[in-house]
Amino acid sequence: MTRQAEAVAIATRAEEAAKGLLRFLTCGSVDDGKSTLIGRLLYDSKLIMEDQLRSLAADSKKHGTVGEEIDLALLVDGLEAERQQGITIDVAYRFFSTARRSFIVADTPGHEQYSRNMATGASTCDLAIILIDARKGVLTQTLRHSYLVHLLGIKHVVVAVNKMDLVGFAEERFDEIVADYRAATSQLAFRHVLPIPLSARFGDNVTMPSNRMPWYRGAMLLEHLEAVNVAVDAGDAAFALPVQWVNRPHQDFRGFAGTVVSGRIAAGDPIVVAKSGRATRVSRIVTADGDRDAATTGQAVTLVLDEEIDIARGDVLVEPRARPEVADQFAAHLFWMHEEPLLPGRRYVLKLGTQLIPATITSIRHKIDVNTQKQQPGRTLELNEIAFCNLHTTQPIVFTPYTENRDLGGFILIDRTTNQTVGAGMVEFGLRRASNIHHQHVDIDKARRAAQKGQKPCLVWFTGLSGAGKSTIANILERKLVAQGAHTYLLDGDNVRHGLNKDLGFTDADRVENIRRVGEVAKLMVDAGLIVLASFISPFQDERRMVRDLFGEGEFIEVFVDTPLAVAETRDTKGLYKKARAGQIKHFTGIDSPYEPPEQAEVTVATGELSAEAAADQILAYLTSHL
């Protein structure tokens, strides 16, 4: 080749590659011909090299499903087990380009068992080819995949009615299937659905028009893939960059490395740390190719900021005008991907952007029947099921709805013991009304206020049966602390119910709300620099954990006032046990409502053996050595 011809060849090829990459997948039910279709696209685009064709011919003899002919599916079904069984197990990624566009295609498995692999392939795509076997029509798996495609936010769909050769290329059959499909999926948020009748095996309407279906006048598959415009108008989406890694080669450089997931940032622009509310400006946008004036969505950069503020991996740097939500409760769609069912209440690790945080599913609002898209009640979620759930994280996380931004709204759940990725979620909305009220940054902080008082603030939480001696011990302890010059406050169950919580009763929901409010009030007081003592029966592990999660390491000190029921009942200082036994009080802890003793209390005082005074001394000793 001459130099000039070379230059032309490279330029042409580079241009092809640059011309909007299209990422698409093939999906649908078992054996509908997905892999054959990809094989056909590669084959007809002359992208198969001679040595690969030779091995395909050999493979087809050995494993082929079509007699003596070459089996195009074997071009993509690359695993031994797949070739032996003639099925696809896991997603294969192939790359090809034509004169008009370059493509990354994910060929996904049809078997229900491997739906998670289909979701893996679909999560990064902009278009889905949903295949339907013309003989079989719309099946449950067709609809399951369609629903996942919809949930994952893919807006462009091609309904490829395949194996038309086996139904005599009949137009009526095609129309019937298309009508069925449209009826079954009318509720799904697809922007564009194009049905094409084709035969992957023989190539009709794949890359070449079919003279066996003259009644079809629409686009051929490849033609459509080359032309379709999947670009979304990002408008003027606000800037966001999840911090991946802090770059600190030496004392004079501190940069925050990450990829812009939304909007644009320029040197000099103001930014805010979404969670802490701290604000500053970007002073430099660093890359190894030199500083940039600006960075836009998709670019991997390192930001240097005007001021030294506390930022770590997991923080999200955003534009002040449009801050994402920050909350510890939100509603999301969840696709369950593991054989072991989802258990509400169980802790998983949630990964969203660069944030890794323990999370629980607090409730399943409803499950979704993929056939009808109808809501169904459910208590757990099995493999391949989809539900709309409420989630709770141990700390607030930063997010936007998935429909606004995949990178800030998509998350995975990881099982803490097996480390498997068990769920994929799409955030719908934050649940606390306060979630859009951002923390206002204040200059005087907890450390400053604590230093002024010369103490380390904390919350000492007393739990135990009614009449165990919580209030008595807490009182003595507070006296002793004040005598030593400490600044304290005692929150007592009965007192709080006269004011802050006088609107609450004793139903389960009200009990939880009671403790939640006390936890938040205690948090403010600890923030103010106080040593707070809280005395509440708080019989449930979950609620106590909820309060513990509000506090930093070492700030929450759980004191278990361990008094046997018999002892408390004999004391019965308020006469409540007698009433409860008589059935005059319902849901009384220890009588007809359980008490869950703490598993890892910082201090346990056995009041059966100790006086209240000695118990207070024991707690004081703990505080002195730990604060």
Partner: protein, 323 residues
């Protein structure tokens, strides 16, 4: 005395923060691939305790190393490089490796199966699959175990081969380093699950979505130095049943009647010289290499004697712990 590779010297100077930066001329497509790879590398650096970059000196490794230099700049990549050496690498590769890593100031670990070499195994007396198993797979596993690495970057691309096309970007390996292709973790969006049990490791493929063309085009535009064996030169070659083997040193075992003749050749992939087939070519610039590749009718792996053994050889090797 080996000559100093001036291209390497100049290349290393580009990463000196005191030197002027060189502006990028990449297409939007390559820029997107670059950004994705950088993202992947930063995730590993941030979440794994002890990662390593498997550096095999070839074109893919050169690109991967370049991306690592960019991802953490102005800091150095926060992980060492490890080369699995068989003792039969082309001499030019070792020169490239040593000059490049020292010019960039990177930590290089070399791992080899010395016991097998001491026992007299050579590529001439060992079946090629067995050779790959003991010299590459076993040595790789030993290197991972010896240094306690929990993650290793590899330069594999999905367009290389059918079983690679099936692999995740973050590919979990059992305590024995085996891959279980039937039970891969789902991998949605760009949310990589890096949690592993004790003893398990992760192989990470930041170049998963690159094609051979992308690699060469990137090398051309970013002016990344590669081993000169990729470019056509007159080299002493032996024609063995259609496969052109280069006589790289005196250990060559000639078959009766064989002699070396000078031929104008280059290599599309590099490995151990007795096991690497060259192609006749006069392409001696990156531009010519790319042009030649675009008109090629065979794939790059064709020259690899190790892989042509059987269709499913790559998957088998991966199950045994290979990259």
């Amino acid at each position: 005395m080996t000559e100093t590779r001036q291209d390497i010297v100049h290349y290393a100077a580009r990463f000196d923060p005191a030197m002027p930066r060189r502006s990028s001329t990449l297409s939007s497509h390559l820029r997107a691939l670059e950004a994705e790879s950088i993202f992947i590398m930063r995730e590993v650096a941030a979440e794994m305790a002890n990662p390593v970059l498997l550096y095999s000196i070839g074109k893919d490794s050169s690109v991967m190393l370049h991306l690592a230099m960019k991802a953490f700049w102005p800091a150095k990549p926060p992980f060492p490089l490890m080369h699995i050496a068989t003792g039969w690498d082309f001499r030019d590769m070792i020169v490239h490796r040593d000059q490049l890593t020292s010019a960039l100031g990177l930590r290089l670990l070399v791992q080899a199966n010395d016991a097998a070499t001491a026992a007299g195994s050579t590529p001439f007396n060992t079946d090629s699959r067995e050779w790959a198993r003991i010299m590459l797979i076993d040595a790789l596993k030993a290197g991972m175990d010896r240094h306690g690495f929990d993650a290793a970057f590899g330069g594999g691309r999905r367009d290389e081969e059918k079983s690679r096309a099936k692999e995740r970007v973050f590919s979990v390996r059992s305590a024995g380093h085996g891959w279980d292709p039937r039970n891969q973790r789902p991998e949605l969006w760009h949310l990589y699950n890096t949690r592993v049990a004790r003893g398990e490791t992760i192989r990470v493929f930041p170049l998963s979505n690159w094609t051979e063309f992308d690699i060469w085009e990137y090398i051309r535009l970013e002016q990344i130095p590669v081993v000169p064996l990729y470019f056509a030169r007159h080299r002493p070659m032996v024609d063995r049943g259609g496969t052109l083997i280069m006589v790289d040193d005196e250990r060559m075992q000639f078959k009766p009647g064989e002699t070396a003749t000078e031929r104008l050749v280059r290599f599309r992939t590099l490995g151990d010289w007795p096991l690497s087939g060259a192609i006749e070519s006069d392409a001696d610039t990156v531009e010519q290499v790319i042009a030649e590749m675009l008109s090629a009718r065979t794939s790059e792996r064709q020259g690899r004697l190790v892989d042509s053994d059987e269709a499913a050889s790559m998957e088998k090797k991966k199950r045994e712990g290979y990259f």
